[in-house]
Symmetry: C2
Subunit: 310 residues, 2 copies
């Protein structure tokens, strides 16, 4: 039994593919309490989304029946209910008008609703659709604007360009994290690799990927030949491949945008952001970590929707 939080105003839920993280926020938007469980969208059984949600927020709700707002894959087709995608440029105040309400009952039979934020979509110059769910809320929470570029590393890494008043102007997904995992865990490149770190090999990979981004499926193979030919030690190959894949993002973004700013913002976990900071440093771009709290975007979205006081 936790202490009652008389000050509670909102439950903010970051509900992704793997995890469900919930935060009880005060009327000032500060975190009073937080809980999580591995009840991500992909692990939910028989579409019983109530179960993991109540396991995490049930006690809070009994004490303070505050509004609940969520972002992430919970709003995808595989999630609880499909929330729309806003087109780019995408503004938080537009998103606040399009929350998707999902009613559910707590253990006492009282009805609440989870308000799921919209995702964001855009089309690139080739007409390709791109989508994000969850990252848009982090971007809005970051307060970045005026042409700032922001990278959110991960399985499907996002690069976002922010507009004058903090809208998401455009963004791009790169499958970097997934490709790295597939190539090293299931592919032939992993066979020559031994655990180890090599920052120089990483940087060499970054420059190669950036400069030769037109030759991706060829240069990735060099993570094998460098091992076969002994130009890199087995312990260096993993960092080299990681560098190539991140370098490909940089090269592609450079070609797409014409130029990159001298400074790029990073949102994400420490280890991944450090890796991206090193990659950016190798191409003379300064990396800046976003300092906003994980809940900043959901809090702002709730404010914009009138769920809490501004």
């Amino acid at each position: 039994m936790t202490t009652p939080h008389s000050n509670a105003a909102l439950i903010a839920v970051d509900w992704g593919t793997t995890n469900l993280r919930a935060y009880l926020l005060s009327v000032q938007g500060k975190i009073l309490d937080q809980r999580s469980c591995p009840g991500g969208v992909m692990s939910v059984q028989d579409r019983n989304f109530e179960a993991p949600l109540l396991s995490v927020v049930g006690e809070w709700l009994m004490q303070s029946p505050v509004p609940l707002i969520a972002a992430g894959m919970i709003g995808s087709r595989q999630g609880w209910r499909e929330a729309p995608y806003l087109p780019c440029p995408a503004r938080i105040d537009v998103a606040a008008k399009q929350l998707t309400a999902v009613p559910f009952q707590d253990v006492a039979g009282k009805t609440h609703q989870l308000l799921i934020g919209a995702g964001v979509q855009c089309r690139d110059d080739s007409g390709l659709h791109d989508v994000m769910r969850g990252e848009e809320t982090q971007l809005w929470g970051s307060e970045l604007s005026d042409g700032a570029v922001c990278i959110l590393p991960g399985t499907h890494c996002k690069w976002a360009w922010m507009g004058r008043s903090g809208e998401i102007q455009k963004f791009r997904t790169y499958m970097t994290g997934e490709l790295f995992a597939l190539l090293t865990k299931h592919g032939i490149l992993g066979r020559l690799m031994k655990p180890g770190q090599d920052i120089e090999a990483f940087k060499r990979g970054v420059l190669l990927g950036k400069n030769d981004s037109a030759h991706a499926s060829h240069i990735i193979f060099s993570a094998r030949t460098a091992g076969l030919m002994g130009t890199l030690a087995a312990e260096s190959l993993s960092d080299y491949l990681s560098g190539i894949l991140i370098g490909l993002e940089i090269g592609s973004s450079l070609k797409m945008a014409g130029a990159l700013p001298a400074q790029i913002n990073l949102i994400g976990d420490d280890e991944l952001c450090m890796r991206y900071a090193q990659a950016l440093q190798a191409v003379n771009i300064q990396a800046v970590r976003s300092q906003s709290e994980a809940t900043a975007g959901l809090w702002k979205l709730a404010q914009s929707a009138g769920l809490v006081r501004s």
Copy 2:
């Protein structure tokens, strides 16, 4: 018990990662008999390479103790004995002087030797090593020369440029087959796919990959968003992704070589070559199947080495 082949002159062995294929050739280089087993390099237990070899060629050897010549991954570090890599431009007569002999005994205790052909390596403009083992022999067997470009589709697809007198001038590996397998079998892209064919989606992917080869890890993600957004049916996504990956090869080769010939040669199995022919057709390049026999290269190598009459 097979008929004795009094006319036998050579045993040609195509020994790869997965399979071992052996051919008994006549003094004219014609196939008298052929046998194979799944005794590829990766399936050999305790480095007992004799076992699968004898299971396939043992009977032939008892009847006609002819020379044995081999190409493929059997000459790799994971193979029976590591054969050298010839640098590009790589000529068959140079390879013929560098066969790697591995002695072994037949069941009667008589010693023979397997002569393993060298692989070929080259370095691209970025200084990256590239390697092939087995494909070089197919290329020499194809009799292509004078700037001909040849594609050998597969897990690690090779593009080769042939020199004036049939030497391998340069080549490039693309991880197309492996990437396709990893992304569809183990990755998130496979989740939206249903079995099916769609030649138009395939061609759309080819053009996208060719034109946007600088953005590989971004455009591959469109095989997910096209499914999410309903711009392609679940049954079309596999061909679309396949098209993108082959298109990436075309785009990269174009950028590397400046231009591609109006006609490109294909060596490989029917289904894969048909797929590449369709991809090339989508970018107005005519595909020509190589008509030489699978054993032509090993026969020529043996001739050049003086193992059989020219």
